[in-house]
Structure formats: C-alpha cells, structure tokens
C-alpha cells in the first residue's frame, strides 16, 4: 500500500523528473551532476516532507513554474533545495577544484545529446560563469525573478545580486549582442 508521500514522489519524478534534471543542467552545465543534484534534493525534501499547500505560501519565496500543474509547491521546494545544494557544493569544493582545474573543462563534461548548435556559444559562455553568477542568471532569465526575489531566494544582499548579474551579463554579452550592438 502506498503512502501519500510515496504517491507525491512518484508523481513528481514521473511528470517533472526531466524538467528538474534540465533545471539542474542549467545550473551545473553537466548532466550527471544535474541528475545527482535532483536525486539528492528529492531525498532531502521527501524524507521530511509536509505539503506546502497545507499551510499556504505566505511569506515564502514563490517560484514561477512552467507546468502550471499540481506539483507547483513541491517542485518549487525541490528546486530551491537544488539551488542551495549546488551553491553549497561549489563552495565546499572550491579549493579542491582550484587544485584540479581539469575537472571543469568541457571535454570532461557530459553534455546532453540535444544541445542546439545555434546556441552553443551561449552555452559555452554560461559554463564560464562562476556558480553564483550562473545561479543568478538562471533565476533572472529562466525563472524570471526580480533582483529582490533572487536576493530573497539565495539569501544574498540585493547589491551582491546586481553585481553577480552585471558581471555575468558582461561575460555573456559577446555572444548575446551582435557586433556594434549597445551594451
């Protein structure tokens, strides 16, 4: 006999598993890391899960979701956990990665089969961003959050968010804006 959390987990993974892996890939730039991130977040969320809808969402960050389905509250929490895990992991392994720079090179990164060639430059440029810049860019341009919302989500001051976004956009502008374009 399945329990309620069991059904919720099954539904979420079945219906939104691909989207969650995609979100993790947008953050990490590596499918395998994205898959680990999703599974780690799912276990962390569901081992202590209470339905977010039960007590409303007042006072908590709201994530715009793209499925419009019934998984919104749970998926939003899983995604927030993924963000926290991603930033925590990158901080914890920062020194190790500095010692082993080859880990981050693209030839050792598992790329998705369906990368679109026309956007390859942007994809590569995104991989060159620091983890925080990348998280801010994803939250800004994919989740469509404002600076105050990103600051609340990541627990970082708005000024810091603006700096990360400005640095990130500066790094991306070469592939986003045609020669002679404004910026």
């Amino acid at each position: 006999m399945s329990t309620r959390w069991d059904d919720e987990l099954t539904d979420l993974v079945t219906n939104r598993g691909r989207a969650l892996v995609g979100y993790g890939y947008a953050l990490t730039g590596d499918v395998r890391r994205a898959e680990d991130l999703v599974q780690d977040a799912l276990v962390r969320v569901f081992r202590r899960f209470r339905r977010p809808e039960a007590a409303g969402t007042e006072g908590h960050t709201e994530f715009p979701l793209h499925d419009g389905g019934s998984h919104a509250g749970i998926e939003a929490y899983v995604r927030r956990t993924m963000l926290n895990l991603y930033l925590d992991e990158t901080r914890r392994f920062a020194l190790w990665r500095k010692a082993e720079p080859k880990v981050a090179t693209t030839d050792r990164v598992k790329a998705p089969a369906s990368d679109i060639t026309a956007r390859a430059d942007v994809t590569v440029a995104l991989r060159g961003l620091s983890p925080r810049q990348r998280a801010c860019v994803v939250l800004r341009f994919y989740d469509d959050l404002t600076v105050p919302q990103i600051a609340a989500t990541l627990g970082i001051a708005e000024g810091t968010i603006k700096r990360h976004l400005a640095d990130g956009i500066r790094a991306l502008r070469g592939v986003l804006v045609p020669e002679g374009g404004l910026l």
Partner: protein, 356 residues
C-alpha cells in the same frame, strides 16, 4: 507583475535587447534538452531506489521519536560532564557576565543576531546592538580592553611572588593581519577580524547550540542540541553545515573560509513540526542530527592574514599560517527565520582548542 517592476534596478539588464530572448531561449533549451526525448530521466529510472531511501529516512525518524527524549538527555548530560573541561574559570576581555542560571559551557552567554541583508552595511568590529530588555538576561559588561592594541604589563611595585604575572598579549598575533576583514559573504555582518568575543552581536531572539561531540576532536558527528530558544519557536531553513569562528585572547583571528550565504542548517530530526516550506520548527532541547558525519577542521591558515582573490570562486585563497597556541572556537550556523527577509547566525558556546 508589470515590466517596470520586474526591471527595477536592472539598468544593465534592459539594454540587453534581443540578447535577453537568446539567453532565455538558450537556458530553456538547456532545461528541455538535458534528457534526450523518449528516454526516461535518471531520477525516473532510479525511482525505486529513491523511494527506498526516503522510506528508510522516514522510518528511522519515526523510530527516533520514542528515543528522542533519551537522546537529548544523554546529549545534555554529556555536555554537563564536559563543562569543566570546556569552560574557562575567568571571563575573557569584553565578555558579558551573565547573572542567570549557570549551565554547562555557557551556551546562553553567546547570543545570536539577525542580519538584514544590506549592500550598504559594512563590517565593523564594534557593533551597536540593541537587545530587547524583555528577552535578554541582565548582563554586566566587563571593561572592553580590546578596542586597540593591548599589552598587559605588571603593575608598578607589584611582586611576582605575591601575584602571578599577567601574560603579555601581543596584537596583532601575526603579520599581516587584516583587521576589519571577514571572509563570509554576509554583507551586513558586523563580525570581522579583530572583533572581541564579547562583541558578538546581541539579538532579542536568543538561540544557542551545543555540539554533541567533544570539541577537542573538532568533529560534529551527531549534530547539535539546541539549548535555548527564548521567546518563541523559530523556523530554520534547511541546508548546510556549521561554520566556526576562532578567537585568541578574546579576539577573532580566523574563521572557516566562508559561510554559505544561501543556507543554514541541515536538520534531519527534531520537533516534528514543520513550516509551510517544510522547514522544521525549532524548540528548546531539540537535537539536530547531521545528514552526514561532519568533521570540523580548523584550517591551518588564517582568514585574517594574507589572501589572494579569485574571481571565479567566492572564496579567496589564504596564505598566512596560524601560529601554534591556545585558541577558542565558537561554532556558528546561519539560519533563516520565518519572515524570510533577514538572516541570522546562531552561535555555540566557546571551547578551548590547542593548535600544534
């Protein structure tokens, strides 16, 4: 939400023109294309394993409810047994003296602070806290002798045979020493290199923790016991691991490399009450189990010494070795209260540690 409010403070963003759409579409393509069409995602393939893992956690937690009281009592008893080892007999300079119940390794004497993220607030070693009189125990501050370079010398005419000679306190303890710098990414934090331990910020909400393991081992393998939550229950968001602050002669001389500014504690067992976000509601006496064994490692270089910034990573590289000697470590854990608009740091008591 209209476009104007969405772009508030994003002058660099609105000029992106068509590049915005390219970026949005690219990220969308990454999300959509991570798993090839027609192939189940890895989480789907591993659904059975995920369910077993979650079930094991939840069963363990249900079993722990009956044992919870015994665990907490054991942890507190262990803390009390260690008190004589962990506690100094005399207060350090600048440390408030608390006229309340004496308990264990003085956890309640180190308060917490709530930080409102503010890009304009700079670190200062001398904050001006405004504690609520209704929730903070009466304290009698000892003279702050640490506001400048300190050299303690024997009184004129004093006899070494009558009174022990006060040790000479050198400041700074090593060179170079970047007083006022702090390696954590809390923009509003008043904590900085050189901060007197007694100047750790005060806050009306007092929230303290005790590590369940011997701090001599610098390992946190069985989490923390929350020893005090005054005034109200508190909601914490889940996440990371505790950090540490390192004091010598009562002043901050190093810390862990950087508290993750996006998270706080990982609570895997506790009150059994949850917020709307699924975060646990904290209650006094709650034992916080870590998800994994965590070893608190004191780095052998100081975050207050020489450093090299690395633009690709939030953590600089530090170079100045910490001198051998006696230090005190204070565990610190950022937390996010229920209002979601501010951040706080919970501090443990202070524990002596010797660096070889």
């Amino acid at each position: 939400m209209n476009d104007e409010s969405k772009h508030e403070g994003l002058g660099f963003d609105v000029d992106l023109g068509p590049g915005r759409d390219v970026l949005r579409q690219t990220i969308g393509a990454l999300v959509d294309g991570a798993t090839p069409p027609g192939v189940p995602s890895v989480p789907e393939e591993n659904l059975g394993l995920l369910r077993r893992k979650v079930r094991a956690w939840r069963l363990a937690k249900a079993g722990a409810v009956g044992l919870g009281t015994a665990v907490v009592v054991s942890a507190l008893a262990f803390s009390a047994a260690q008190a004589s080892t962990w506690t100094r007999s005399e207060p350090l300079p600048g440390r408030p003296t608390v006229h309340s119940i004496e308990r264990g390794p003085v956890p309640s004497e180190v308060p917490t602070t709530r930080l409102s993220p503010s890009p304009t607030t700079s670190a200062s070693p001398s904050p001006s806290p405004t504690p609520s009189p209704s929730s903070v125990p009466e304290v009698e501050p000892t003279p702050d002798v640490s506001a400048s370079s300190v050299v303690v010398e024997p009184e004129p005419g004093g006899s070494a045979s009558e009174e022990p000679e006060a040790p000479e306190v050198m400041w700074p303890p090593f060179e170079p020493f970047d007083e006022g710098y702090f390696s954590w990414a809390f923009d509003a934090s008043p904590i900085a290199c050189g901060l007197p331990i007694g100047d750790l910020p005060m806050d009306p909400v007092r929230f303290t923790i005790e590590p369940n393991d011997s701090p001599a081992d610098l390992k946190v393998t069985s989490g923390f016991t929350i020893t005090e939550v005054a005034g109200e229950s508190y909601e914490l968001s889940s996440g990371g691991i505790p950090e540490y602050l390192l004091f010598q002669e009562g002043r901050l001389v190093s810390s862990s490399f950087g508290a993750r500014d996006a998270g706080s504690w990982g609570g895997d067992s506790g009150s059994g009450e949850f917020t709307a976000d699924g975060d646990e509601i904290v209650v006094p006496g709650q034992t916080w189990q870590m998800a994994q064994t965590y070893t608190m490692t004191i780095e052998d270089v100081s975050t207050c010494g020489e450093r090299t910034e690395n633009r690709d990573w939030p953590t600089p590289e530090f170079h100045t070795p910490l001198p051998a000697g006696e230090y005190e470590v204070v565990y610190a854990a950022p937390y996010r209260p229920a209002d979601g608009e501010s951040w706080g740091i919970a501090f443990s008591g202070r524990y002596p540690v010797t660096l070889p």
